[in-house]
Symmetry: C2
Amino acid sequence: MDERAALRLLSDELEGAGDDAAVVDGLVVTTDMLHDRTDFPDGTTRYTAGWRAVGASLSDVAAMGAEATAAVAAYAAPTFDRDELLAFVRGASDVCELVDTEYVGGDLDGHDEFTVATTAIGRTDDPVPRSGARPGDVVCVTGTLGRSAAALEYFDRAARGTDDGDDADGGDEGTEWLLERANALFQFCPRIAAGRALAPHATAMMDSSDGLARSIHQLAEASDCGVAIESNRIPIDDAVREVADGEDEAFELATTFGEDFELVAALPEDALPAVREATDVSLSVIGSVRTATDGVTMDGDELVDRGYTHG
Amino acid sequence: MDERAALRLLSDELEGAGDDAAVVDGLVVTTDMLHDRTDFPDGTTRYTAGWRAVGASLSDVAAMGAEATAAVAAYAAPTFDRDELLAFVRGASDVCELVDTEYVGGDLDGHDEFTVATTAIGRTDDPVPRSGARPGDVVCVTGTLGRSAAALEYFDRAARGTDDGDDADGGDEGTEWLLERANALFQFCPRIAAGRALAPHATAMMDSSDGLARSIHQLAEASDCGVAIESNRIPIDDAVREVADGEDEAFELATTFGEDFELVAALPEDALPAVREATDVSLSVIGSVRTATDGVTMDGDELVDRGYTHG
């Protein structure tokens, strides 16, 4: 059974499974596990790892339209290095501070591979599910897409010891710059504030961590609707253009690579001004909700359900 | 840096670290990570694994004197087998039901070793720390100690294909019985109810997961006090007598092996009747709190700080 089949099985078993986070008595709870080999490319600092691992869980809280209350992490590694551990905790604390929540520590554990399990908790009396999108709603995405794809490419270049970019320094300084850039792109702001602004109006919401294309499909499936996307309205991050071989590859990376933690939401068009008034985060309308028989399309053609299946 | 040094480092960094769980705005949060090789002996069913992993986190909630609100687990395995996954979820759900809380699912994740990260959440307006014990208080423990040590021995015997116990069947049936007994002993009732009964009176509380001897030392250190234990008052589980080679070994296993999830608490002696009235769980007075200069003793001799350091 692959991960998606297993998740479907569980959503039959557990009430509330299938959304980005579970909700119990107004508490939003979500947990994730990340591994060195699959989630933290060579060159990822422990500061970035702490930021990103905790940020990923906070993104799930954001996707429910909740405010964040607290986050914890269980940190497993073969050895406990003082500097690494402190860097991890600082990354975790900094991303929490950015969204006005508290990092309250967690568990330490000896393990042969660096592994992090994070849990974030939030509160909302009115969680936004994936399942409420209605034909006629507009579909929006926060921020820009493709930062993580760009980061991965920079990590790769650093590992290969080459700098294919514009930086002319080369050599060690090149590698250092590549890693700094990659780590910076790998840190992101969980969209708690945007999620709070969207929550009163959104009919369906989720985060884009599996890639935009897959997220749109998941939202359409949960809401039993179709979605029509217009490719020229998708907000592509400049960073992915820096690394991509032309606009087509940039577009492909931005829409299918995933691991960006933006929000994808459906809402009535007339609510847009109120949402934009309530948050500084950019909000791009990328399409509209249709009936299920219309399917999921981009520029009128079927949008292939392709993206990142988390390892 | 070993795990204990790393934990000390973190408790300097993070407010609230050093207790069984963190507390934020009346919410109690705790997380643990468990691994196949170190925490689930060969023969542990996935049902037991789900029960035990989630139960361990609920025990930390109990140790704060909180009621349990919800639990989640991130489940990582090389493959997702339908029956294993459902068994895990049922074990997790059953232990939650036992303490009147909700298992709300979690994350699935491909990983080469079966690994589970659990988080439990609780609520209390009045958390009980490890640090409030006062000279003159009595020291109590809930239930009995040694069940997990006994379980481990039964798992070992099953793995060796031998049944050193009284069961005369031998062969496959013996192994089946050994595994059934081991799994049953590995499941435990998190002491949420007892923790709630103790909370209004306890000056210090924690769980016994690192073994009684180490727990007593940790409580004494956090409270800056001494503790005098009387060995003949320690409640030893019958199961550990079944497997131990004599009473001395049974006592040793019960007090230092750990991985039992009982509560260790300090409280004024005159509060005992009220606590016993409020819970059906047995409560054994095993000693008393002394001044720090008296040290940590058992029957008048120094109690060695020995126990289980979680791998």
